[in-house]
């Protein structure tokens, strides 16, 4: 099965399709409500839409990353393929939601370049996907997998709180599109590289000890 077919099939699966539908609906509502109506001239739509888009993409990536984390260290080839396809599907989400941000950006004319959003959205998705997988592995190691539905959004809140305490944009996907920060790019880039390494590097299974 070609990768493209696998990706299309993954996107068409009900869990992803429902989540994507919800994401598009939220973005549509946000854009419609923040778009100037009547006699208003000032367009601030992008300032509402971009943070929500980035935050929801990060949340979805972390959630899917947590749900697909391997139960054991030596995960199989099938799991690895599934994880890669799921990550690719999440990157397609970033693309499918792009027109919302492009249109809001064009009309709002913020000082932040559109290229910043184009760059950070996929990096955020990949990095938070890895974070979700890491969380799941840690929760399972602590026999607390049941807490994952709380841990995933909780970790995002915690990271946003850390950013607020530091007074900088390092980890928070909500403020990242509004405040271009090389530090955020470095952190997300590093996270994305680690995630990619985790998904591509084959780990050798341990040799059985001779009896």
């Amino acid at each position: 099965m070609r990768f493209l077919d696998a990706l299309a099939a993954r996107l068409a699966r009900s869990d992803m399709l429902q989540a994507l539908t919800l994401l598009l609906a939220v973005l549509l509502v946000v854009l419609a409500f923040s778009w100037p109506g009547g006699n208003a001239l000032v367009n601030e739509a992008w300032f509402s839409l971009a943070p929500i888009r980035h935050a929801l993409l990060a949340l979805a990536a972390a959630a899917f990353g947590a749900s697909l984390a391997p139960a054991t260290a030596g995960a199989g080839v099938a799991w690895r393929h599934e994880a890669r396809v799921t990550l690719a599907a999440l990157l397609v989400w970033a693309l499918v939601t792009l027109p919302f941000e492009v249109i809001a950006h064009a009309a709002s004319y913020p000082a932040v370049s559109l290229a910043w959003g184009l760059l950070t959205a996929p990096l955020t998705v990949v990095a938070y996907y890895g974070l979700g997988a890491l969380l799941a592995r840690g929760a399972r190691a602590l026999r607390a997998a049941w807490a994952l539905p709380l841990l995933v959004p909780g970790s995002l809140v915690l990271l946003a709180w850390v950013d607020l305490q530091l007074g900088a944009t390092l980890l928070n996907p909500w403020t990242a599109p509004l405040d271009p920060s090389p530090a955020y790019l470095a952190v997300m880039g590093g996270g994305a590289i680690l995630t990619a390494m985790g998904l591509t590097l084959e780990r050798r299974p341990r040799r059985a000890e001779p009896a």
Binding site: L7, L24, P36, A40, Y109, P110
Partner: protein, 522 residues
């Protein structure tokens, strides 16, 4: 009594201290004509330095009120200095201020500084007297302009030669008893909007001033006028008051009642929502039912919607700018005041070469490179550039109009008579047109005296609105040749101004400036 040796020692010490003081770097700061600044007007700024190193002159002006809070205006200029005396002159816009502080400093130390409290700010226009006996004109000014006239005694060297420096000056009276001023200074005063009163007969040293009258007893020149009279100060000043024209700020405000730039109209909310809903639905259907080809289709759709949306909704430029110039013309000269409205879509730091000021109070900065201000997103600022002189294409040729410029002047209107039409270059008879008044004239025309002609030119990029007042119709020449009346020797406006401050620097080490008047030692 002292012994000869003691007296000699005392004398030597006195001489030595005098020489030492004479060699110490010093700075004399003066704001306004003769140190009498006018609030809400452009004012000359003069800094005289002696033996001072290159330094930076900084003015910190708080133009805020209790309601608005602090609104800083910072003016900073590099001053060359050097051995001997050096003079730095510029023109600054002085708003009504809560506090003004100035400082002359090198990177290492402050050479001189001073401050003025807001209660010293006076927005009344100045009436300048170039006379040895200025007190004799108080009653005449009270008769012509009311008791609130702000008279200031000046000498010829106080008069700047830049028209913008006379923004706050109403009249300049010259009676010939003091040293003659330079012709260009008096011409600058008239062109800058002041009414120059030549109270005759003037001595031969003042003869060149009569060039401004072009053979008559009165003439308009630029935004102001020149009146010559030998009939006494009351008659002359009454004649000058009759030539008064509406304030330039009032005329400009009338022209700018409607904004010059309009923000881009946003696309309809419903249209955008429907388009994106259709896109989302199509994308979901393709993903659900069309497999890999559908996925490729979705990606193509994303590209298409993004590109079309970007091109349709993105304004062409982040800043929209448009200029409008008000030109007050007389006798071939015009005082041009250019207004520029800028609307910025993203938050921007704007810089303009030259001197400008926002018409609405807001923080800004002026330096050698120009004027700088920061605008929040989707905000507009209206800037007024410093007034300057230019050639005027519209002239009175007797009772007829003449266009001596290179461009046609369109939509001419004579106040009280109605539309005249367009006036081609070189023509003296307007060509009637079907078009009525230019809409922007609507608020301007009621402010102008009957007979004033208004026209516009070069409206493709930036309009210039020409205002040509009617020829001066006052009989100010009566009594010319008679001797000036006897004057009362009343002292006038000789009190020290807080806007003339002198800073003396210590000869090294720590700064130790002493200031006259309201100045403060650093």
């Amino acid at each position: 009594m002292c012994s000869s040796a003691r007296c000699l020692a005392l004398l030597w010490a006195l001489l030595a201290s005098t020489v030492a003081l004479g060699q110490a770097p010093s700075a004399r700061f003066s704001l306004g004509v003769a140190g009498q600044p006018v609030a809400d007007a452009w004012n000359p700024l003069r800094l005289e330095l002696r033996d001072a190193p290159p330094a930076t002159l900084t003015l910190q002006i708080d133009q805020g009120t209790l309601r608005s809070g602090e609104l800083p205006l910072t003016v900073s200029h590099a001053v060359r200095g050097g051995a001997g005396i050096s003079v730095f002159e510029t023109t600054v816009y002085l708003p009504r201020f809560a506090r003004l502080a100035w400082r002359l400093a090198t990177p290492d130390r402050v050479l001189a500084s001073g401050s003025v409290e807001g209660r010293e700010a006076d927005a009344r226009p100045l009436d300048l007297l170039l006379s040895n006996l200025p007190g004799s004109y108080r009653a005449a000014y009270a008769t012509a302009y009311g008791p609130g006239a702000r008279l200031a005694d000046v000498v010829a060297s106080d008069l700047p030669s830049e028209p913008a420096a006379y923004d706050g000056v109403r009249t300049l009276l010259i009676d010939g008893s003091a040293a003659a001023p330079r012709l260009e200074s008096v011409a600058a005063a008239a062109a800058g909007g002041a009414t120059v009163v030549l109270l005759g007969p003037l001595p031969p040293s003042h003869a060149e001033l009569e060039l401004l009258l072009a053979g008559g007893a009165h003439a308009r020149l630029g935004a102001g006028a020149v009146v010559a009279s030998g009939a006494g100060p009351e008659t002359a000043l009454t004649a000058a008051a009759a030539l008064a024209t509406p304030a330039r700020d009032t005329l400009l405000a009338a022209l700018l009642e409607e904004p010059l730039v309009a923000p881009p109209t946003p696309a309809k909310q419903s249209l955008v929502a429907l388009a994106l809903a259709a896109f989302a639905l199509l994308a979901l259907l393709l993903v659900r039912w069309a497999g890999a080809p559908g996925l490729v289709g979705v990606l193509a759709l994303v590209a298409l919607v993004s590109v079309v949306g970007w091109r349709a909704l993105r304004p062409a430029t982040p800043q929209l700018e448009r200029d409008l110039t008000l030109a007050l013309a007389g006798d071939g000269l015009a005082l041009e005041v250019r207004a520029r409205e800028v609307l910025t879509l993203p938050r921007s730091a704007l810089s303009y070469g030259g001197r400008a000021r926002p018409l609405r109070p807001q923080p800004y900065r002026v330096d050698d490179a120009g004027t700088h201000l920061t605008l929040e997103r989707w905000r507009a600022a209206m800037l007024e550039l410093a007034p300057r002189l230019a050639d005027a294409p519209l002239l009175w040729d007797g009772e007829a109009l003449r266009n001596v410029g290179r461009e046609p002047v369109r939509d001419l209107v004579r106040v009280g008579a109605g539309p005249l039409g367009d006036l081609a270059p070189g023509a003296s008879a307007p060509t009637p047109t079907e078009a009525g008044d230019w809409p922007r004239y609507a608020a301007l025309l009621p402010l102008l005296p009957d007979g004033t002609v208004v026209g516009r030119s070069a409206c493709d990029d930036a309009c210039t609105v020409w205002v040509l007042y009617p020829p001066a119709a006052v009989d100010a020449a009566d009594g010319a040749g008679e001797a000036p009346p006897a004057r009362a020797a009343t002292p006038l406006l000789t009190a020290p101004s807080p806007f003339v401050q002198t800073g003396l620097s210590s000869q090294g080490g720590a700064p130790a400036a002493s200031l006259q008047d309201a100045g403060r030692a650093e």
